[in-house]
Protein backbone atom coordinates (compact mmCIF):
# COMPACT_ATOMS: atom_id res chain seq x y z
CA UNK A 1 0.00 0.00 0.00
CA UNK A 2 1.29 3.42 -0.91
CA UNK A 3 1.08 6.06 1.81
CA UNK A 4 0.70 8.82 -0.79
CA UNK A 5 -1.63 9.64 -3.66
CA UNK A 6 -0.86 10.11 -7.36
CA UNK A 7 -1.06 13.87 -7.09
CA UNK A 8 1.34 13.88 -4.16
CA UNK A 9 4.07 11.89 -5.92
CA UNK A 10 3.62 14.01 -9.05
CA UNK A 11 3.97 17.23 -7.07
CA UNK A 12 7.09 15.85 -5.38
CA UNK A 13 8.65 14.93 -8.74
CA UNK A 14 7.79 18.37 -10.13
CA UNK A 15 9.22 20.11 -7.09
CA UNK A 16 12.48 18.17 -7.40
CA UNK A 17 13.01 19.51 -10.92
CA UNK A 18 13.39 23.02 -9.48
CA UNK A 19 16.94 24.13 -8.70
CA UNK A 20 17.73 26.64 -6.01
CA UNK A 21 17.73 30.10 -7.56
CA UNK A 22 15.38 29.28 -10.44
CA UNK A 23 12.58 31.59 -11.50
CA UNK A 24 9.31 29.66 -11.46
CA UNK A 25 6.53 30.93 -13.71
CA UNK A 26 3.05 30.60 -12.31
CA UNK A 27 0.36 30.53 -14.98
CA UNK A 28 -3.39 30.14 -14.89
CA UNK A 29 -5.34 27.13 -13.69
CA UNK A 30 -2.39 24.98 -12.66
CA UNK A 31 -2.67 24.32 -8.90
CA UNK A 32 -0.29 21.35 -8.96
CA UNK A 33 2.45 23.51 -10.47
CA UNK A 34 1.97 26.20 -7.82
CA UNK A 35 2.07 23.62 -5.02
CA UNK A 36 5.30 22.17 -6.42
CA UNK A 37 6.92 25.64 -6.49
CA UNK A 38 5.94 26.30 -2.89
CA UNK A 39 7.15 22.84 -1.89
CA UNK A 40 10.54 23.41 -3.54
CA UNK A 41 10.82 26.76 -1.79
CA UNK A 42 10.05 25.18 1.56
CA UNK A 43 12.57 22.37 1.08
CA UNK A 44 15.60 22.25 -1.22
CA UNK A 45 15.23 25.49 -3.19
CA UNK A 46 14.44 28.37 -0.81
CA UNK A 47 15.79 30.97 -3.23
CA UNK A 48 13.19 30.22 -5.89
CA UNK A 49 11.59 33.39 -7.22
CA UNK A 50 7.97 33.02 -8.22
CA UNK A 51 6.73 35.13 -11.07
CA UNK A 52 3.00 35.16 -11.46
CA UNK A 53 1.82 35.49 -15.02
CA UNK A 54 -1.73 36.31 -13.94
CA UNK A 55 -0.58 39.33 -11.99
CA UNK A 56 2.92 39.73 -13.35
CA UNK A 57 4.36 39.80 -9.92
CA UNK A 58 7.63 38.71 -8.43
CA UNK A 59 6.96 37.18 -5.08
CA UNK A 60 9.15 36.10 -2.23
CA UNK A 61 7.79 34.13 0.67
CA UNK A 62 9.70 32.36 3.38
CA UNK A 63 6.99 30.14 4.75
CA UNK A 64 4.91 28.34 2.16
CA UNK A 65 1.54 30.06 1.94
CA UNK A 66 -1.61 28.06 1.59
CA UNK A 67 -2.90 27.90 -1.97
CA UNK A 68 -6.38 29.05 -2.78
CA UNK A 69 -8.83 29.23 -5.64
CA UNK A 70 -10.18 32.63 -4.78
CA UNK A 71 -7.31 34.36 -3.07
CA UNK A 72 -4.61 33.64 -5.62
CA UNK A 73 -4.33 37.22 -6.92
CA UNK A 74 -5.03 38.63 -3.49
CA UNK A 75 -2.18 36.67 -1.90
CA UNK A 76 0.24 37.47 -4.70
CA UNK A 77 -0.47 41.17 -4.38
CA UNK A 78 0.38 41.14 -0.71
CA UNK A 79 3.56 39.13 -1.11
CA UNK A 80 4.87 41.10 -4.05
CA UNK A 81 8.06 43.09 -4.07
CA UNK A 82 7.36 44.44 -7.51
CA UNK A 83 4.43 44.64 -9.88
CA UNK A 84 5.40 44.80 -13.51
CA UNK A 85 3.65 44.57 -16.83
CA UNK A 86 3.28 41.66 -19.16
CA UNK A 87 6.06 43.00 -21.40
CA UNK A 88 8.34 42.72 -18.42
CA UNK A 89 7.34 39.10 -17.74
CA UNK A 90 8.31 38.09 -21.27
CA UNK A 91 11.43 40.20 -21.09
CA UNK A 92 12.55 38.27 -18.02
CA UNK A 93 11.66 34.96 -19.62
CA UNK A 94 13.56 35.59 -22.84
CA UNK A 95 16.63 36.98 -21.12
CA UNK A 96 16.84 34.18 -18.60
CA UNK A 97 15.66 31.08 -20.44
CA UNK A 98 18.20 28.90 -18.62
CA UNK A 99 16.92 29.63 -15.14
CA UNK A 100 13.20 29.48 -15.83
CA UNK A 101 11.00 26.63 -14.68
CA UNK A 102 7.45 26.46 -15.94
CA UNK A 103 5.08 23.51 -15.77
CA UNK A 104 2.51 23.23 -18.53
CA UNK A 105 -0.41 20.86 -18.64
CA UNK A 106 -1.11 19.64 -22.18
CA UNK A 107 -4.43 18.28 -23.41
CA UNK A 108 -2.44 16.05 -25.78
CA UNK A 109 1.24 15.06 -25.91
CA UNK A 110 2.83 12.82 -28.53
CA UNK A 111 5.84 10.53 -28.63
CA UNK A 112 8.09 13.35 -29.90
CA UNK A 113 7.10 15.70 -27.09
CA UNK A 114 4.82 17.95 -29.15
CA UNK A 115 1.82 19.26 -27.23
CA UNK A 116 -1.62 20.66 -28.00
CA UNK A 117 -4.08 22.82 -26.07
CA UNK A 118 -5.97 24.36 -29.01
CA UNK A 119 -8.47 21.80 -30.22
CA UNK A 120 -9.13 18.07 -30.46
CA UNK A 121 -9.95 16.49 -33.81
CA UNK A 122 -9.14 17.44 -37.37
CA UNK A 123 -10.97 20.77 -37.10
CA UNK A 124 -12.24 22.96 -34.32
CA UNK A 125 -15.86 21.83 -34.62
CA UNK A 126 -15.28 18.83 -32.36
CA UNK A 127 -13.75 20.24 -29.23
CA UNK A 128 -12.39 23.75 -28.99
CA UNK A 129 -9.89 24.33 -26.18
CA UNK A 130 -8.54 27.65 -24.87
CA UNK A 131 -5.57 27.98 -27.25
CA UNK A 132 -1.82 28.30 -27.48
CA UNK A 133 -1.37 30.80 -24.61
CA UNK A 134 2.22 30.76 -23.36
CA UNK A 135 3.29 27.33 -24.56
CA UNK A 136 3.75 28.34 -28.20
CA UNK A 137 5.93 31.21 -27.05
CA UNK A 138 8.53 29.28 -25.21
CA UNK A 139 8.43 25.50 -25.63
CA UNK A 140 11.02 25.57 -28.45
CA UNK A 141 13.26 28.02 -26.60
CA UNK A 142 13.50 26.70 -23.05
CA UNK A 143 16.56 24.48 -22.56
CA UNK A 144 14.31 22.55 -20.16
CA UNK A 145 10.59 22.24 -20.83
CA UNK A 146 8.29 20.59 -18.31
CA UNK A 147 4.88 19.07 -18.79
CA UNK A 148 2.66 17.40 -16.25
CA UNK A 149 -0.19 15.05 -17.03
CA UNK A 150 -2.36 14.15 -14.03
CA UNK A 151 -4.36 11.76 -16.16
CA UNK A 152 -2.17 9.30 -18.00
CA UNK A 153 -4.66 8.13 -20.62
CA UNK A 154 -4.59 7.13 -24.27
CA UNK A 155 -6.40 10.28 -25.30
CA UNK A 156 -3.69 12.39 -23.65
CA UNK A 157 -0.64 10.35 -24.72
CA UNK A 158 -1.40 10.24 -28.46
CA UNK A 159 0.69 9.14 -31.41
CA UNK A 160 0.44 12.52 -33.12
CA UNK A 161 -1.09 15.66 -31.64
CA UNK A 162 -3.93 17.27 -33.64
CA UNK A 163 -2.22 20.67 -33.54
CA UNK A 164 1.33 21.50 -32.49
CA UNK A 165 1.09 24.31 -29.94
CA UNK A 166 4.18 23.41 -27.93
CA UNK A 167 7.02 22.26 -30.15
CA UNK A 168 8.78 19.08 -29.14
CA UNK A 169 10.69 17.35 -31.85
CA UNK A 170 9.35 16.45 -35.22
CA UNK A 171 10.77 13.41 -36.96
CA UNK A 172 12.96 15.86 -38.76
CA UNK A 173 12.90 19.52 -38.06
CA UNK A 174 14.74 22.75 -37.79
CA UNK A 175 14.89 22.99 -34.03
CA UNK A 176 17.68 20.55 -33.54
CA UNK A 177 19.46 22.14 -30.62
CA UNK A 178 19.80 19.95 -27.59
CA UNK A 179 17.02 20.61 -25.14
CA UNK A 180 15.39 18.57 -22.43
CA UNK A 181 11.70 17.81 -22.28
CA UNK A 182 10.49 16.15 -19.09
CA UNK A 183 7.00 14.77 -18.63
CA UNK A 184 5.61 13.85 -15.23
CA UNK A 185 2.45 11.77 -15.18
CA UNK A 186 0.48 9.89 -12.54
CA UNK A 187 2.32 6.72 -13.62
CA UNK A 188 5.93 7.81 -14.05
CA UNK A 189 8.51 10.31 -15.18
CA UNK A 190 9.42 10.45 -18.89
CA UNK A 191 11.82 12.33 -21.10
CA UNK A 192 12.36 12.79 -24.80
CA UNK A 193 15.50 10.86 -25.68
CA UNK A 194 18.03 12.97 -27.58
CA UNK A 195 19.08 10.34 -30.12
CA UNK A 196 15.72 8.94 -31.19
CA UNK A 197 13.64 12.05 -30.29
CA UNK A 198 11.16 9.66 -28.73
CA UNK A 199 9.58 9.44 -25.33
CA UNK A 200 11.45 7.26 -22.87
CA UNK A 201 10.46 6.17 -19.38
CA UNK A 202 12.92 7.62 -16.85
CA UNK A 203 11.38 6.24 -13.68
CA UNK A 204 8.21 4.48 -12.73
CA UNK A 205 6.22 5.46 -9.65
CA UNK A 206 6.09 2.93 -6.78
CA UNK A 207 3.17 0.50 -7.12
CA UNK A 208 2.84 1.03 -10.89
CA UNK A 209 3.58 -1.71 -13.43
CA UNK A 210 5.02 -1.21 -16.90
CA UNK A 211 1.77 -2.75 -18.22
CA UNK A 212 -0.22 0.10 -16.66
CA UNK A 213 1.80 2.54 -18.73
CA UNK A 214 1.55 0.51 -21.94
CA UNK A 215 -2.20 0.07 -21.58
CA UNK A 216 -2.73 3.80 -21.20
CA UNK A 217 -0.46 5.12 -23.94
CA UNK A 218 -1.32 5.24 -27.65
CA UNK A 219 2.27 4.73 -28.76
CA UNK A 220 5.25 2.61 -27.78
CA UNK A 221 7.24 4.19 -24.98
CA UNK A 222 10.96 3.35 -24.90
CA UNK A 223 12.07 1.65 -21.70
CA UNK A 224 15.40 0.66 -20.19
CA UNK A 225 16.17 -2.98 -19.45
CA UNK A 226 15.94 -2.27 -15.78
CA UNK A 227 13.49 0.47 -14.98
CA UNK A 228 14.28 2.85 -12.17
CA UNK A 229 11.72 3.51 -9.51
CA UNK A 230 10.73 7.05 -8.57
CA UNK A 231 11.76 7.81 -5.01
CA UNK A 232 8.58 8.33 -3.02
CA UNK A 233 7.68 11.58 -1.25
CA UNK A 234 9.31 12.02 2.15
CA UNK A 235 7.35 12.47 5.36
CA UNK A 236 8.25 16.17 5.34
CA UNK A 237 7.12 16.65 1.74
CA UNK A 238 3.81 14.93 2.44
CA UNK A 239 3.26 16.95 5.57
CA UNK A 240 3.97 20.22 3.78
CA UNK A 241 1.61 19.40 0.92
CA UNK A 242 -1.23 18.11 3.09
CA UNK A 243 -1.08 20.45 6.06
CA UNK A 244 0.61 23.65 4.99
CA UNK A 245 0.28 24.24 1.26
CA UNK A 246 -2.94 22.58 0.19
CA UNK A 247 -5.12 21.50 3.12
CA UNK A 248 -8.26 22.08 1.05
CA UNK A 249 -7.08 19.47 -1.50
CA UNK A 250 -7.37 21.84 -4.45
CA UNK A 251 -4.83 19.65 -6.29
CA UNK A 252 -7.49 16.96 -6.63
CA UNK A 253 -9.41 19.16 -9.08
CA UNK A 254 -6.78 18.39 -11.70
CA UNK A 255 -7.95 14.76 -11.76
CA UNK A 256 -11.67 15.32 -11.87
CA UNK A 257 -14.04 16.20 -14.69
CA UNK A 258 -17.71 16.95 -15.33
CA UNK A 259 -20.19 16.90 -12.48
CA UNK A 260 -17.71 15.49 -9.94
CA UNK A 261 -15.32 18.34 -10.63
CA UNK A 262 -18.09 20.91 -10.44
CA UNK A 263 -19.18 19.62 -7.04
CA UNK A 264 -15.63 19.45 -5.69
CA UNK A 265 -15.03 22.99 -6.94
CA UNK A 266 -18.17 24.34 -5.28
CA UNK A 267 -17.24 22.55 -2.10
CA UNK A 268 -13.80 24.20 -1.99
CA UNK A 269 -15.28 27.60 -2.88
CA UNK A 270 -17.74 27.25 0.00
CA UNK A 271 -14.95 26.44 2.43
CA UNK A 272 -12.87 29.38 1.27
CA UNK A 273 -15.81 31.76 1.41
CA UNK A 274 -16.71 30.64 4.92
CA UNK A 275 -13.23 31.69 6.04
CA UNK A 276 -13.58 35.26 4.92
CA UNK A 277 -16.56 36.58 6.80
Amino acid sequence: MRNFTSDEIMITCMSREIRNGDIAIQGLTTPMAIISYYLAKATHAPQTTIMQLAGNILTYAKAPPQISLLFNEFEAMRRAVHIGTQTEVYEVIFKRLESIVEFFRPAQIDMFGNTNNSWIGSDISKLRLPGGFGISDVAALYPRTFYYCPRHEKRVFVENVDHIGGLGFRTKGEFDQRRDIHIISELGVFEIEHESRRMRLSSIHPGIKIENIKENTSFEILTAEKTQQTSPPTELELQLIREKIDPLNIRRLEYLSGKTRENALLNILDKELSLTI
Partner: protein, 337 residues
Protein backbone atom coordinates in the same frame (compact mmCIF):
# COMPACT_ATOMS: atom_id res chain seq x y z
CA UNK B 1 25.88 40.44 -47.82
CA UNK B 2 23.12 38.55 -46.03
CA UNK B 3 19.85 38.50 -47.89
CA UNK B 4 16.71 38.69 -45.80
CA UNK B 5 14.01 36.33 -46.98
CA UNK B 6 10.58 35.34 -45.81
CA UNK B 7 10.95 31.71 -44.81
CA UNK B 8 7.35 31.01 -43.81
CA UNK B 9 4.06 32.88 -43.57
CA UNK B 10 1.25 32.17 -41.16
CA UNK B 11 -2.13 31.59 -42.81
CA UNK B 12 -4.26 33.27 -40.16
CA UNK B 13 -6.24 36.40 -40.97
CA UNK B 14 -4.41 39.61 -40.11
CA UNK B 15 -6.82 41.55 -37.91
CA UNK B 16 -6.45 44.88 -36.13
CA UNK B 17 -3.44 45.79 -38.25
CA UNK B 18 -2.90 49.33 -39.59
CA UNK B 19 -0.15 50.75 -41.67
CA UNK B 20 1.60 52.97 -39.06
CA UNK B 21 1.54 55.99 -41.40
CA UNK B 22 -2.15 55.58 -42.08
CA UNK B 23 -2.82 55.14 -38.38
CA UNK B 24 -0.85 58.24 -37.51
CA UNK B 25 -2.80 60.36 -39.94
CA UNK B 26 -6.07 58.91 -38.63
CA UNK B 27 -5.03 59.83 -35.10
CA UNK B 28 -4.10 63.33 -36.25
CA UNK B 29 -7.51 63.83 -37.83
CA UNK B 30 -9.70 62.12 -35.26
CA UNK B 31 -8.24 62.35 -31.79
CA UNK B 32 -8.70 65.37 -29.61
CA UNK B 33 -5.57 66.81 -28.04
CA UNK B 34 -7.30 69.42 -25.95
CA UNK B 35 -8.10 68.62 -22.34
CA UNK B 36 -11.88 68.60 -22.50
CA UNK B 37 -14.58 67.10 -20.36
CA UNK B 38 -15.07 63.58 -21.74
CA UNK B 39 -17.53 62.31 -19.17
CA UNK B 40 -20.49 60.48 -20.66
CA UNK B 41 -22.77 57.52 -19.98
CA UNK B 42 -21.93 53.94 -20.95
CA UNK B 43 -24.87 54.08 -23.34
CA UNK B 44 -23.45 57.14 -25.08
CA UNK B 45 -19.86 55.83 -25.20
CA UNK B 46 -20.86 52.53 -26.79
CA UNK B 47 -23.23 54.01 -29.34
CA UNK B 48 -20.70 56.70 -30.26
CA UNK B 49 -17.51 54.67 -30.52
CA UNK B 50 -18.31 51.02 -31.26
CA UNK B 51 -19.29 50.20 -34.85
CA UNK B 52 -20.09 46.90 -36.56
CA UNK B 53 -16.92 45.21 -37.81
CA UNK B 54 -14.68 46.89 -35.23
CA UNK B 55 -11.73 45.06 -33.72
CA UNK B 56 -12.17 45.44 -29.97
CA UNK B 57 -9.96 44.56 -27.01
CA UNK B 58 -10.90 44.43 -23.37
CA UNK B 59 -8.44 45.32 -20.62
CA UNK B 60 -7.60 43.57 -17.37
CA UNK B 61 -6.69 39.92 -17.21
CA UNK B 62 -8.95 36.90 -16.86
CA UNK B 63 -11.54 37.79 -14.22
CA UNK B 64 -9.58 40.78 -12.93
CA UNK B 65 -10.43 44.44 -13.63
CA UNK B 66 -12.68 43.93 -16.67
CA UNK B 67 -15.01 46.72 -17.81
CA UNK B 68 -18.18 44.66 -17.52
CA UNK B 69 -20.39 47.76 -17.59
CA UNK B 70 -19.34 48.32 -21.22
CA UNK B 71 -19.60 44.61 -22.07
CA UNK B 72 -23.24 44.60 -20.89
CA UNK B 73 -23.91 47.83 -22.77
CA UNK B 74 -22.54 46.38 -26.03
CA UNK B 75 -24.91 43.45 -25.60
CA UNK B 76 -27.83 45.72 -24.72
CA UNK B 77 -27.28 47.76 -27.88
CA UNK B 78 -27.07 44.52 -29.87
CA UNK B 79 -23.83 45.47 -31.61
CA UNK B 80 -22.85 42.85 -34.17
CA UNK B 81 -19.98 41.50 -36.26
CA UNK B 82 -17.34 42.60 -33.80
CA UNK B 83 -13.88 41.01 -33.90
CA UNK B 84 -12.31 40.51 -30.48
CA UNK B 85 -8.80 40.06 -29.16
CA UNK B 86 -8.76 36.72 -27.31
CA UNK B 87 -6.00 37.90 -25.00
CA UNK B 88 -6.71 35.86 -21.89
CA UNK B 89 -10.29 36.82 -22.49
CA UNK B 90 -12.58 34.96 -20.17
CA UNK B 91 -15.93 36.20 -18.89
CA UNK B 92 -16.06 39.22 -21.22
CA UNK B 93 -15.62 37.26 -24.45
CA UNK B 94 -17.88 34.43 -23.29
CA UNK B 95 -20.78 36.86 -22.84
CA UNK B 96 -20.13 38.79 -26.03
CA UNK B 97 -19.91 35.62 -28.14
CA UNK B 98 -22.93 34.09 -26.41
CA UNK B 99 -24.97 37.23 -27.12
CA UNK B 100 -23.97 37.18 -30.78
CA UNK B 101 -22.05 40.48 -30.65
CA UNK B 102 -18.64 39.00 -31.41
CA UNK B 103 -18.39 36.55 -34.29
CA UNK B 104 -14.64 36.55 -34.96
CA UNK B 105 -11.79 36.00 -32.51
CA UNK B 106 -8.02 35.92 -32.65
CA UNK B 107 -7.17 33.45 -29.92
CA UNK B 108 -4.33 33.23 -27.41
CA UNK B 109 -6.50 32.14 -24.48
CA UNK B 110 -10.27 32.18 -24.82
CA UNK B 111 -13.34 30.01 -24.21
CA UNK B 112 -12.17 29.10 -20.70
CA UNK B 113 -13.14 30.37 -17.25
CA UNK B 114 -9.73 29.61 -15.72
CA UNK B 115 -10.04 27.09 -12.86
CA UNK B 116 -13.82 27.38 -12.91
CA UNK B 117 -13.88 25.26 -16.07
CA UNK B 118 -14.35 25.75 -19.81
CA UNK B 119 -16.81 28.33 -21.12
CA UNK B 120 -19.95 26.59 -22.31
CA UNK B 121 -21.58 29.22 -24.48
CA UNK B 122 -18.63 30.53 -26.47
CA UNK B 123 -17.25 27.04 -27.10
CA UNK B 124 -20.63 25.99 -28.39
CA UNK B 125 -20.64 28.99 -30.72
CA UNK B 126 -17.18 28.11 -32.05
CA UNK B 127 -17.96 24.43 -32.49
CA UNK B 128 -21.15 25.14 -34.40
CA UNK B 129 -19.50 27.79 -36.58
CA UNK B 130 -21.46 30.78 -35.25
CA UNK B 131 -18.21 32.29 -34.09
CA UNK B 132 -15.06 31.95 -36.16
CA UNK B 133 -11.50 31.72 -34.90
CA UNK B 134 -9.80 33.77 -37.62
CA UNK B 135 -6.28 33.27 -36.31
CA UNK B 136 -4.34 31.70 -33.47
CA UNK B 137 -1.74 33.56 -31.46
CA UNK B 138 0.13 33.31 -28.16
CA UNK B 139 0.28 35.43 -25.01
CA UNK B 140 3.65 37.04 -25.67
CA UNK B 141 2.78 37.64 -29.32
CA UNK B 142 -0.32 39.61 -28.30
CA UNK B 143 1.81 41.66 -26.00
CA UNK B 144 4.23 42.44 -28.85
CA UNK B 145 1.31 43.27 -31.19
CA UNK B 146 0.14 46.03 -28.84
CA UNK B 147 3.70 47.14 -28.14
CA UNK B 148 4.41 47.59 -31.85
CA UNK B 149 1.06 49.36 -32.27
CA UNK B 150 1.97 51.73 -29.45
CA UNK B 151 5.45 52.38 -30.87
CA UNK B 152 4.11 53.16 -34.35
CA UNK B 153 6.12 50.41 -36.07
CA UNK B 154 4.66 47.61 -38.24
CA UNK B 155 6.08 44.59 -36.39
CA UNK B 156 8.21 43.36 -33.52
CA UNK B 157 10.93 40.81 -34.21
CA UNK B 158 10.71 37.96 -31.73
CA UNK B 159 11.53 34.30 -31.27
CA UNK B 160 8.12 33.10 -30.18
CA UNK B 161 5.85 30.67 -32.09
CA UNK B 162 8.75 29.15 -34.06
CA UNK B 163 8.06 25.65 -35.34
CA UNK B 164 4.48 25.42 -34.11
CA UNK B 165 1.14 24.90 -35.84
CA UNK B 166 -0.02 27.89 -33.82
CA UNK B 167 2.38 29.92 -35.98
CA UNK B 168 0.86 28.42 -39.15
CA UNK B 169 -2.60 29.60 -38.08
CA UNK B 170 -1.30 33.02 -37.02
CA UNK B 171 -0.73 36.20 -39.02
CA UNK B 172 3.01 36.30 -38.24
CA UNK B 173 5.89 35.72 -40.66
CA UNK B 174 9.28 34.07 -40.20
CA UNK B 175 12.43 35.53 -41.77
CA UNK B 176 16.14 34.85 -41.37
CA UNK B 177 17.55 37.50 -39.07
CA UNK B 178 19.87 39.90 -40.93
CA UNK B 179 22.22 40.06 -37.94
CA UNK B 180 22.34 36.46 -36.68
CA UNK B 181 20.96 34.58 -39.70
CA UNK B 182 18.76 32.59 -37.30
CA UNK B 183 14.99 32.26 -37.87
CA UNK B 184 13.04 35.18 -36.45
CA UNK B 185 9.29 35.66 -36.07
CA UNK B 186 7.85 39.00 -37.11
CA UNK B 187 4.79 39.78 -35.02
CA UNK B 188 2.53 42.31 -36.79
CA UNK B 189 1.47 45.39 -34.84
CA UNK B 190 -2.10 45.88 -33.67
CA UNK B 191 -4.08 49.09 -33.29
CA UNK B 192 -7.51 47.99 -32.06
CA UNK B 193 -10.42 50.12 -33.22
CA UNK B 194 -11.65 50.32 -29.65
CA UNK B 195 -10.23 49.30 -26.28
CA UNK B 196 -12.32 49.24 -23.12
CA UNK B 197 -10.48 49.51 -19.81
CA UNK B 198 -11.72 49.76 -16.25
CA UNK B 199 -9.62 51.82 -13.83
CA UNK B 200 -9.62 52.85 -10.20
CA UNK B 201 -9.69 56.61 -10.72
CA UNK B 202 -9.70 59.04 -13.58
CA UNK B 203 -10.29 62.78 -13.93
CA UNK B 204 -12.86 64.24 -16.34
CA UNK B 205 -10.23 64.70 -19.06
CA UNK B 206 -9.23 61.02 -19.00
CA UNK B 207 -6.02 60.94 -16.98
CA UNK B 208 -6.42 57.44 -15.60
CA UNK B 209 -4.77 55.62 -12.73
CA UNK B 210 -4.73 51.89 -12.09
CA UNK B 211 -3.85 50.23 -8.77
CA UNK B 212 -2.16 46.84 -8.88
CA UNK B 213 -1.01 45.05 -11.99
CA UNK B 214 -1.26 46.90 -15.30
CA UNK B 215 -0.90 43.66 -17.30
CA UNK B 216 -1.18 44.72 -20.96
CA UNK B 217 -3.20 47.86 -20.37
CA UNK B 218 -0.32 50.30 -20.72
CA UNK B 219 0.49 49.09 -24.25
CA UNK B 220 -3.14 48.41 -25.17
CA UNK B 221 -4.39 51.86 -24.16
CA UNK B 222 -1.56 53.58 -26.01
CA UNK B 223 -2.05 51.47 -29.17
CA UNK B 224 -5.84 51.75 -29.54
CA UNK B 225 -7.57 54.20 -31.82
CA UNK B 226 -10.57 54.72 -29.56
CA UNK B 227 -10.38 54.20 -25.83
CA UNK B 228 -13.34 53.96 -23.48
CA UNK B 229 -12.28 54.25 -19.87
CA UNK B 230 -14.72 53.23 -17.17
CA UNK B 231 -13.76 54.28 -13.69
CA UNK B 232 -14.78 53.47 -10.14
CA UNK B 233 -14.65 57.20 -9.44
CA UNK B 234 -14.14 60.41 -11.38
CA UNK B 235 -11.64 62.35 -9.29
CA UNK B 236 -10.85 66.09 -9.36
CA UNK B 237 -8.10 67.06 -11.78
CA UNK B 238 -5.95 68.49 -8.96
CA UNK B 239 -5.75 64.95 -7.55
CA UNK B 240 -4.10 63.78 -10.79
CA UNK B 241 -1.52 66.55 -10.46
CA UNK B 242 -0.77 65.52 -6.88
CA UNK B 243 0.66 62.17 -8.02
CA UNK B 244 1.16 62.38 -11.79
CA UNK B 245 3.54 59.40 -11.78
CA UNK B 246 0.57 57.18 -11.04
CA UNK B 247 -1.20 58.12 -14.26
CA UNK B 248 -0.56 55.29 -16.69
CA UNK B 249 -3.05 56.49 -19.31
CA UNK B 250 -2.82 60.24 -20.14
CA UNK B 251 -5.88 62.14 -21.37
CA UNK B 252 -5.02 62.35 -25.09
CA UNK B 253 -5.52 58.61 -25.55
CA UNK B 254 -8.97 58.66 -23.96
CA UNK B 255 -12.24 59.25 -25.82
CA UNK B 256 -14.80 58.58 -23.11
CA UNK B 257 -14.75 58.71 -19.34
CA UNK B 258 -17.59 56.72 -17.82
CA UNK B 259 -18.08 56.71 -14.07
CA UNK B 260 -19.36 53.28 -13.01
CA UNK B 261 -18.82 52.24 -9.40
CA UNK B 262 -18.53 48.43 -9.25
CA UNK B 263 -18.16 48.50 -13.03
CA UNK B 264 -16.11 45.30 -13.09
CA UNK B 265 -18.75 43.17 -11.35
CA UNK B 266 -18.82 40.11 -11.27
CA UNK B 267 -15.08 40.30 -11.85
CA UNK B 268 -12.61 41.44 -9.24
CA UNK B 269 -11.32 44.99 -8.79
CA UNK B 270 -8.01 44.85 -6.92
CA UNK B 271 -8.24 46.52 -3.50
CA UNK B 272 -11.89 47.43 -4.13
CA UNK B 273 -14.13 44.36 -4.36
CA UNK B 274 -13.92 40.63 -4.82
CA UNK B 275 -15.14 38.18 -7.50
CA UNK B 276 -18.86 37.48 -7.20
CA UNK B 277 -18.64 33.70 -7.37
CA UNK B 278 -22.41 33.29 -6.97
CA UNK B 279 -23.03 35.34 -10.07
CA UNK B 280 -20.27 33.71 -12.13
CA UNK B 281 -21.62 30.27 -11.15
CA UNK B 282 -25.11 31.31 -12.16
CA UNK B 283 -23.82 32.29 -15.60
CA UNK B 284 -21.78 29.09 -15.99
CA UNK B 285 -24.83 27.05 -15.09
CA UNK B 286 -27.28 28.89 -17.32
CA UNK B 287 -24.88 29.08 -20.26
CA UNK B 288 -24.95 25.31 -20.62
CA UNK B 289 -27.95 25.72 -22.93
CA UNK B 290 -29.05 28.34 -25.46
CA UNK B 291 -32.25 28.82 -23.49
CA UNK B 292 -30.22 29.47 -20.37
CA UNK B 293 -28.17 32.09 -22.20
CA UNK B 294 -31.41 33.81 -23.28
CA UNK B 295 -32.74 33.67 -19.73
CA UNK B 296 -29.55 35.22 -18.32
CA UNK B 297 -29.35 38.01 -20.90
CA UNK B 298 -33.04 38.80 -20.53
CA UNK B 299 -32.79 38.99 -16.75
CA UNK B 300 -29.51 40.87 -16.34
CA UNK B 301 -29.04 42.83 -19.57
CA UNK B 302 -32.03 43.42 -21.85
CA UNK B 303 -34.60 44.18 -19.17
CA UNK B 304 -32.21 46.44 -17.31
CA UNK B 305 -31.72 50.11 -18.16
CA UNK B 306 -28.68 51.03 -16.13
CA UNK B 307 -25.78 49.48 -14.32
CA UNK B 308 -27.29 50.60 -11.01
CA UNK B 309 -30.38 48.60 -11.77
CA UNK B 310 -28.20 45.60 -12.58
CA UNK B 311 -26.38 46.00 -9.26
CA UNK B 312 -29.72 45.92 -7.44
CA UNK B 313 -30.57 42.68 -9.25
CA UNK B 314 -27.39 40.91 -8.21
CA UNK B 315 -28.01 41.58 -4.54
CA UNK B 316 -27.69 45.32 -4.10
CA UNK B 317 -25.58 47.20 -1.61
CA UNK B 318 -25.65 44.36 0.88
CA UNK B 319 -23.97 42.02 -1.60
CA UNK B 320 -21.52 44.70 -2.72
CA UNK B 321 -20.53 45.44 0.87
CA UNK B 322 -19.80 41.79 1.33
CA UNK B 323 -17.61 41.69 -1.80
CA UNK B 324 -15.83 44.81 -0.60
CA UNK B 325 -15.22 43.33 2.79
CA UNK B 326 -13.85 40.13 1.25
CA UNK B 327 -11.40 42.07 -0.88
CA UNK B 328 -10.21 44.04 2.12
CA UNK B 329 -9.72 41.00 4.36
CA UNK B 330 -6.28 41.52 5.77
CA UNK B 331 -5.33 37.87 5.61
CA UNK B 332 -7.66 35.02 5.18
CA UNK B 333 -7.32 32.48 7.92
CA UNK B 334 -7.37 29.04 6.47
CA UNK B 335 -6.83 26.51 9.17
CA UNK B 336 -9.97 24.65 8.18
CA UNK B 337 -9.39 21.36 6.43
Amino acid sequence: MLKVEIIEEGQGQLVGFRDPDENRSWVLDNKSRTPEDKRMSAQEAVSKFIKPGDFIASGGFGHVRVSMAIIYEIIRQKKQNLIMAGKTAVHDIDLLVAAGCVDKVEVAYSFGHELRGLSNASRRAVQTGKCKVVSEISNAAYQWRFLAGMMGIPFIPSRVLLGTDTFKKSSAKIINCPFTNKPLTLIPSCNPDVAIIHVHRCDKYGNAQIDGALIEDFELSHASRRLIVTTEKVTPHRKTRLKPWRTSIPFYYVDAVVEVPYGAHPCQMPMEYFFDEDHISEWLKLSKTDDGVKEYLEKYVYSVNSFDQYLRLIGGQRKLNRLKKMEMTTGWKAEVK
